[in-house]
Amino acid sequence: MTAGSTRPVAATAEGWGWRHAGRPGFAVRGVDLHIEPGERVLLLGASGSGKSTLLSALAGVLGDAEEGEQEGRILLDGEPPAARRGRAGLVLQDPDSQIVLARVGDEVAFGAENLSVPPPEIWRRVRETLDDVGLDVPLDRSTSALSGGQKQRLALAAVLAMRPGLLLLDEPTANLDPQGVTEVRDAVVRILDRTHATLVVVEHRVAVWADVVDRVIVLGSGGGILADGPPAAVLGDPATRSVLAAAGVWIPGWCPPLAEAPGTRTPGPELLAARGLSVARTRRGPAVLKGVELSLPEGSALSIVGANGSGKSTLALTLAGLLRARAGTVTAADTLARGAGADPARWKSARLVQRIGSVFQDPEHQFLTGTVAQELEFGPRSARLPAAEYGPRIEALAERLRLTHLLRANPFTLSGGEKRRLSVATVLATRPAVLVLDEPTFGQDAGTWAELVGLLRGLVAEGRSVVSVTHDDDFTRALGGGILEVRAGSAGLTAAA
């Protein structure tokens, strides 16, 4: 059997619903749909409408009665998904959490091995699928040495080697830079054209997939299906569009409205400056970026842009006082340092949080406590600020970032957008004058995106300095300010507003 003859799978949901164990309400229910073999479907809906849960169910990895309660049923070619293991292949959002083995070739072979495919056929499939996804690296290349886009194409190849008749993609491009997004999307299209497999893809950024799919299904927030039809009809219908916009889905030809206008403030005196700066990831590792010159005045925004792996994140960590400069200097002006010394890398944690705030790409890295409320109080408490001072400020922040109803929740159980809002709020709780953010809009829905932009614009208008590492052109444009383009080991200021 060759890839060209992969038999596409039909998928059916009949009054289907799922309640996670320990949760009072159903994550999703009342889903009735039939997907024909070979159809290409884009699945949309607000966060929390159960898109990922539905994909997991189709993949047969939702678990048994211990992990939740199911109503209705899901069938692949008329049988339960668990009985059709290997017919559906699932690719998840985070490339790092789905790589199993150390070498590229072994990783692709893993799924086929589990399906008891004979070894010579496995290696034929490994070469074929790596070719299909356009991943041209030696089979013994280390899987940890790949870029984000390469890892995601590897995950795709690893699933394709199982010859699935149903390809399930759960926000496969949310964590990738624009080039990675195109690479993965094009690889999927190439494969579908050849194998004619059925496709179901979940994605916030509709424009990436709208031209590729032939059907759009929108799940309602309160259960059931809101809209179902060809992309042009569903996305062109004003009623559906407004529902999708309210749900934070990125619809082509629409940008979320922003509350505040861009700050017209003229930048004030300098807060932080880098002169002849070289940055390195570790103390003894090689310098990834050299000769950076920049100045961050009060009331300014700066976007650091450039390809993956060019050293943007390392530069941000160094500017934020978390890594020591390899060469050159990062100097805090007296107005920022307030007696703590000129080199932020030497500041103690308690002083650092009151001067420079860092928001990491993965919010989970920064969560330290068991509830949202403790998380918000953590910074001010470790800086030994009086509760009378930070209490009202935290309340206002929670209100502003819609976290008030979540104060007693565990940070790790929040949705992606909520985690991002919390990570920004925790940093703002100590009122730092400089804010450094690494990819703040990655994987965010349009609602959270607009909130972030509004909030950051407000901070700039207040006179703070906001530095963002980003691939998001809309974000850079909306925030305004300077752009530092990083490429091949050096950086240059290309524009300033």
Partner: protein, 265 residues
Amino acid sequence: MSADLSAPVLSGAVLMRANPLSKLFAAGIVTVAVILSIDWVSAAVVLSGELLLMPLLGVSPRKLLLRIWPLVAAAAIGGYGTALLAEKTGRVLLDAGPFLFTEGSVGAGIAVALRGLAVALPGIFLLLSTDPTDLADALGQKLRLPHRFVLSALTAMRLAGLLLDQWRMLGLARHARGAGPDGSPIARVRDFLGQSFGLLVQAIRRATRLAVAMEARGFGAGPRTWARESTFSAVDLWVATAGAALAAAAVTAAVAAGTWNLLLT
């Protein structure tokens, strides 16, 4: 000990081409021979043999020393302690108050130091010349250990290798949140414990997600095939024979020299 101690040196050296099981056998039999008797002759024979075989590893002595110096230091300290405290028999070599060394005690010290190194080196050789994936293949196919167990252990090993990076990132993130290791030793210990707990939480979350990803790829569903066939070749015969021969030579030499001192009697 640093994490790269466990990373194999993939250089295409002779030992790399041997099946992990033959290396395991050779290392095992040599270790048993050294452990059975505390005497300097058998330990010296094994250690010389191991040093002679080192070129097969494809690692320069300098690089090897950089990786195993803690072991060398530990062996030297162990030998020194034994020489200081062992039964004082034979001619006095040095008498400086509490520091009394005799021929008998120094002999025992040398035996302990040599034996420590001789026991440690086969394990190091095995680690440096073996890819974990190949070891898992051999255990699953040749020893027929359950594949769920073997592959889960292999995946866990890969995740453990990534912990160092995560630890570093966690340290930066905590510093950024105001939880850095400032101030008193007690605060430092508390910070270390906090960071360790954070690492544990992340490791568990990552392992859970990976388990789902593995299940989605059909892992554990039923019988499986192995894409990489684990095979034995002439090299394995040599490796196993060399191990057995070295063990036999050590025992014979010690018995002939009259130093054989069986631990169990």
